[in-house]
Symmetry: C2
Subunit: 332 residues, 2 copies
């Protein structure tokens, strides 16, 4: 048998998204911070779902979206994350595999149901997320397929994993195994409140264990507790090999040592739903990176993949991403 | 307590749709008749799902889509149909109630899971459906809330119900209760193969029990076994009070005694997915009808609601239907 060789393996929460349109008022009246992610328990999830409008269900999860994006671009991918053996778990498993990703983490036979994320998309296309982690919190080191991790050029971790203790241990062990195999570790800071919850851990991680860092403006300024984006970006010099800082419509910044490249955002029509924007940016970047493209090109592929995902509801690509990338890179 | 007074009550299969894009070849190779509905068992559903690409889940079911559409237009609605007490059943229940529809049919505690419909949307935007009826086949007369039926100006039935024996009995008893209360009964023929399976029953129903009939061109020509649409349309004179015959981009025809009105289709942008087109046409018509509008106006509202649902993936309205209707009726 040929040895397994993957481009990117993702480790993250295995979540089914429940998406609905909502007015600003709905979000404000419930004390939710628009644009961010709030953790909720089962009881809160049920109460909030009862108040939510008619919805659609789509497989989600931050790292899982990124992996689905890399696979859609043509990369060889694997995913590690925990579902329950229930209907939502079956949906998650189906969708990630149907996109061509290896996914072998056993489903939990008992305990809480598959994680879900209630997403309220306001008229400005911003998404506000409330996550019930469910079976994701059962995810621990025993669920990590270390052969899968060692086989991948890049192991990609989402900061959200830090919210559950066993997942955090799985995360650290996976990173160690990847590094021991001479592989690259990438991390997304995920969310500004997630950064606040775990700031000192994240600073230690970023500065000592991570090769490629993804963060948006709110996350990186929260990490370094500064209001100035340029100052936060400069702080990363020498701390990680590559940092990718996303700034919504202002595009993204690649920080590579003392070099900095600014790459514009890509618009593919009206902004419909920002869910998955950061995840798909990471997908495009990592696909380019594992194909040996130069850093500005990797960031451009990220911008194209993000541009696609924000042009429709839901966090996974719907259009033919390789065709979009070919078309847009030709026009640069 | 004020007496319950509804505009439309729907009786139908309670189904969650699983929608995915697919190539023509995928549909052809599996011997599926493009554009129609095939009944499958659990084993076939699992095998087909395993071959299906990444999907989205949305509440569906033909009569349920119609009822959701009437509710979205501002009508007072109820729905009767059977889910299992599983996660998909919870999704169906949530979505129909969240849209403002009364839905009180108890979920089954045992037996097959909630029905699902695997829908393959080909590049020409046609939908090909494979339905696993699941808990829907447990639906019978005991599940019918006759008070709900008697309270509604119109009771709307989908032809698909005819595929399961107890559902068929529920259907007939509901129709009798509605008529005894002086109410109106509407039926959709649902699908040309459904018509073939139940032709003589449907002819008896249409000619003796139904006030308002919905059918598309393939269904009505199949019912009367003629290739000529105009001949089939003429056959309906005197058989039902009103017939609504839909002809895709050619618009629809209202047959009322010896009067006939041709109403154009409404396009709201590129054709994306025809799932739910007939269901939403019926929704628009029935909303107008129960508001006392004249027949051509009712058909126009149907065309607008159908135009909206084919402009996006999935069988339930996403845009503000009352606003669309106001805008388009003003421009006639």
């Amino acid at each position: 048998m040929a040895e397994l060789e993957l481009d990117v393996v993702g480790i993250g929460n295995a979540i089914v998204d429940v998406l609905s349109h909502a007015e600003e008022r709905f979000v404000n009246e419930r004390g939710l911070a628009k644009g961010s992610m709030t953790l909720i328990d089962m009881e809160q999830a049920e109460a909030l779902y009862a108040e939510m409008g008619p919805a659609v269900e789509v497989s989600g999860g931050s790292a899982a979206n990124t992996i689905a994006g890399v696979a859609a671009l043509g990369g060889r991918t694997g995913f590690i994350g925990k579902v329950r053996n229930d209907q939502l778990g079956g949906i998650f498993r189906h969708d990630i595999r149907a996109g061509g990703t290896l996914f072998t983490t056993p489903a939990a036979d008992e305990g809480p149901p598959t994680a879900r994320c209630l997403i309220f998309v306001t008229p400005d296309a911003q998404r506000t997320m409330c996550t019930y982690l469910g079976a994701s919190v059962e995810f621990g080191p025993d669920d990590v397929d270390f052969e899968l991790v060692k086989s991948a050029k890049v192991t990609y971790l989402e900061g959200y994993l830090w919210d559950a203790e066993p997942a955090k241990r799985a995360f650290v062990q996976a990173a160690e195994a990847a590094h021991a195999a001479g592989r690259t570790i990438a991390l997304s800071l995920s969310d500004p409140f997630c950064v606040e919850r775990h700031r000192s851990d994240f600073i230690d991680l970023v500065e000592n264990h991570i090769d490629i860092l993804f963060a948006n403006e709110a996350e990186i300024t929260s990490l370094y507790q500064t209001e100035r984006f340029d100052e936060a970006a400069a702080r990363l010099n020498g701390k990680v090999e590559i940092a990718l800082l996303t700034r919504s419509e202002k595009g993204s910044v690649v920080v590579y040592g003392d070099q900095r490249y600014d790459v514009p955002a890509v618009s593919l029509g009206p902004l419909v739903d920002t869910t998955g924007a950061g995840d798909l940016y990471a997908a495009g970047f990592l696909y380019g990176y594992t194909q040996g493209k130069d850093l500005p090109t990797c960031a451009r592929i990220g911008a194209i993949a993000a541009g696609e995902v924000i042009s429709h509801m839901g966090p996974r690509p719907e259009q033919d991403l390789p065709a979009l990338v070919n078309e847009h890179l030709r026009n640069v």
